[in-house]
């Protein structure tokens, strides 16, 4: 049995209380019994005196020592009497160890024949020790009775407490112990406890179990819902073809999907814990990315742009549409969600299309559209350049005389010849028909004339046409202009070059050496006229 159990506690308390009360009661009983016995002994002594009064009276009246001694001995043989003394005028008889004490009772003795005539006195001393002993005996009996009574009451209380309280509680406890929360199991009310405190305890426990079951049911449903949702989200996240990465603002990666891992593998890059803010280290144009994100976040917008990634696997350019979103989580921490959508293929296609659209099919030089784009970008970046417009002379007759194929051959020949004399960064294009434009970025103006001379020499090299079995040679007229010195827009620059070129053509009729003119010179010449 549990040593802190209710029954044991109750038993201990009852036993202690019974012992304490028993002890006190015994003490009080003893005192009362003692006092009772004391007063009883006085009564008894008086009775004794009455019993022997006639004999005593006679003995003392006659002052007969033998008679008196007999009376004294008779009295002292009583166990409540300690000592006796009888005194007359001439006689004094006492029992052994007689000593007058406080408790001694003295009776006056009178003549049996004359009620008024005193003949002596009788002194009886009660035996206090005997009375005390008797009182002790009586109170011991009382204590024994109380002890037996207390023991019986204790046993009854323990049995009743065990059957009425502990047993039902133990039953409830065992039942409760085996109940799994959230199931429909309940505690039964113990017998005869429908209206007791234990009964209402069971009712409360069951209502608590009801609530728990409901709550657990709701939680289970909710959890299922969340699980289902999170499964969907995980699928979305994991199966996404775009890389999705969740980072802290400083760049520590919290979460990434398979697509990101395979992207890194494709780029032959190690998987690191951090690539800096917005995965900066992965990008080739880190500065632009930084600007983009800072501006977007400054305007509380989503940062979105197309950037090239570092590629250590191949030379292939890997382009990604990058979207950086800042979000505040429930715990008030800021997270960056970065999505990298691979657009390399599209970019490649666009590049190809762009290249196709910008290339002259015949000469494989830039066409007008391609050239315009390049020149515009130079203008935008404010790069100094010289622009030369070249127009072939007497090309139409070649077409007419030798056929278009020969014309085409001439154009291809001119194009390749032009390429020879130019630097890598120079732009060469077929502007249309027999017109070519050469752009020379960052060229010192003084060197232009010399370069045009080289160009003239190159293109005038004769071309052998096997079909016709002839060698053909073409000349050209050129006009040059400078950006930003002469004009600032493409259209105006081309017009300037065109004007300069036509001026060259006019002068060439007189002297073939004037195949090239600068727009600046044309202006000066016009001012003169």
């Amino acid at each position: 049995m549990n040593k802190n159990g209710l029954v044991i506690r109750l038993a201990i308390i009852v036993i202690f209380a019974a012992s304490a009360v028993g002890f006190l009661a015994t003490q009080v009983f003893y005192r009362i019994t003692y006092l009772n016995e004391l007063s009883l002994s006085k009564d008894k002594i008086e009775q004794l005196h009455t019993t022997v009064s006639s004999t005593t009276s006679i003995a003392t009246y006659l002052e007969d020592e033998e008679l008196v001694t007999e009376v004294v001995n008779g009295l002292v043989s009583n166990d409540i009497v300690k000592s006796v003394e009888i005194k007359t005028k001439s006689l004094s008889v006492s029992s052994k160890q007689h000593e007058k004490a406080v408790d001694s009772i003295e009776f006056q003795l009178y003549s049996p024949f004359e009620a008024e005539r005193s003949v002596g006195s009788l002194t009886i001393t009660p035996d206090l020790l005997h009375i005390e002993k008797r009182a002790q005996e009586i109170s011991f009996d009382n204590s024994l009775a109380i002890f037996i009574q207390a023991s019986i009451v204790t046993i009854i209380i323990i049995i009743v407490a065990y059957t009425v309280i502990t047993q039902p509680i133990l039953t409830i406890e065992r039942r409760l112990h085996n109940i799994v929360p959230g199931t429909n199991e309940r505690v039964e009310t113990p017998n005869h406890h429908n209206k007791s405190e234990i009964g209402s305890l069971v009712v409360d426990i069951n209502s608590l179990l009801d609530k728990t079951e409901n709550q657990l049911e709701q939680e289970r449903n909710l959890r299922d819902e969340v699980e289902r949702l999170s499964k969907h989200f995980r699928t979305l996240f994991e199966k996404s073809t775009s890389s999705i990465i969740l980072t802290e603002p400083k760049g520590n990666i919290l979460l990434y999907n398979e697509a990101f891992a395979s992207l890194l593998k494709r780029l032959n890059l190690p998987l690191k814990k951090s690539y800096g803010p917005y995965l900066k280290e992965l990008f080739l144009e880190q500065h632009q990315l930084n600007n983009l994100v800072e501006i977007a976040f400054g305007n509380e917008e989503i940062a979105s742009g197309e950037f090239k990634l570092v590629n250590k696997a191949t030379d292939e350019a890997v382009w990604v549409q990058t979207i950086v979103t800042s979000s505040i989580a429930e715990d008030y921490k800021e997270h960056y969600q970065i999505t990298l959508h691979d657009i390399s293929k599209r970019k490649l296609q666009i590049d190809k299309l762009d290249k196709k659209a910008s290339t002259d099919e015949l000469t494989k030089l830039l066409n007008r559209r391609g050239a315009e784009q390049k020149i515009n970008s130079l203008i935008q970046s404010e790069t100094q350049f010289a622009l030369v417009l070249l127009d072939l002379n007497k090309f139409k007759p070649i077409n007419d005389i030798y056929g278009h194929e020969a014309g085409d051959d001439i154009l291809i020949h001119v194009a390749s010849q032009l390429t020879k004399g130019l630097r890598h960064r120079d732009i060469l294009s077929r502007w249309g028909g027999d017109e070519f434009i050469i752009v020379l970025p960052n060229l010192p103006q003084a060197e232009l004339t010399e370069i045009t001379l080289k160009i003239k020499e190159h293109i005038e090299a004769p071309l052998y046409i096997p079909a016709q079995n002839i060698s053909l040679s073409v000349s050209a007229s050129m006009g040059g202009t400078f950006f930003p010195d002469d004009q600032l827009t493409l259209k105006a620059i081309i017009e300037n070059a065109d004007k300069a070129m036509y001026w060259s053509k006019e002068k060439q009729r007189i002297n073939d050496d004037h195949f090239f003119s600068l727009y600046q010179d044309l202006l000066k010449n016009m001012d003169k006229n």
Partner: protein
């Protein structure tokens, strides 16, 4: 106190039921030659109940009683100590074996008593007043 009252009631009862006894006057007498003149009731009691065997003046005393069938004896004890003869007999039988006291000597007749006292100097007894003679001396008068 209550005993005394009971005793008083008892006495009144007896006096009323036996009016004939009251008529006989009794006196305690000694020999005419006895120097004693007067005795108290206690002194008389002490002599008849065996406490003393001497007169108050120290002379030896011989108490003389009647035998129990005499009414005079009954009256005498009744008047002297207020007790019946049965009670007096019980007294004597109680002290007969242990005590040293001796009961008075007994005479068969009142005349015998008169005769004895008249001839014995130390004798003391009781007689009806009517039987007094010159050889006897009254020392105590028993009132009703």
């Amino acid at each position: 106190m209550s005993m005394q009252r009971n005793f008083l009631i008892f006495l009144i009862f007896i006096l009323m039921s036996m009016p004939t006894f009251a008529e006989e006057e009794l006196v305690v007498v000694v020999n005419g030659n006895n120097p004693i003149e007067q005795m108290t009731r206690s002194e008389v009691i002490d002599l008849f109940m065996g406490k003393y065997v001497a007169f108050p003046d120290g002379n030896k005393a011989i108490a003389v009683d009647l035998t129990s069938e005499h009414k005079t004896k009954k009256i005498f004890y009744q008047r002297l100590v207020g007790r019946s003869l049965a009670s007096i007999n019980a007294y004597w039988s109680r002290i007969r074996f242990t005590g040293r006291a001796k009961p008075p000597i007994k005479k068969e007749s009142k005349e015998g008593v008169v005769q004895y006292v008249a001839t014995t100097k130390n004798a003391i007894s009781y007689i009806p007043k009517s039987m007094l003679n010159e050889k006897l001396k009254v020392v105590y008068q028993l009132n009703e």
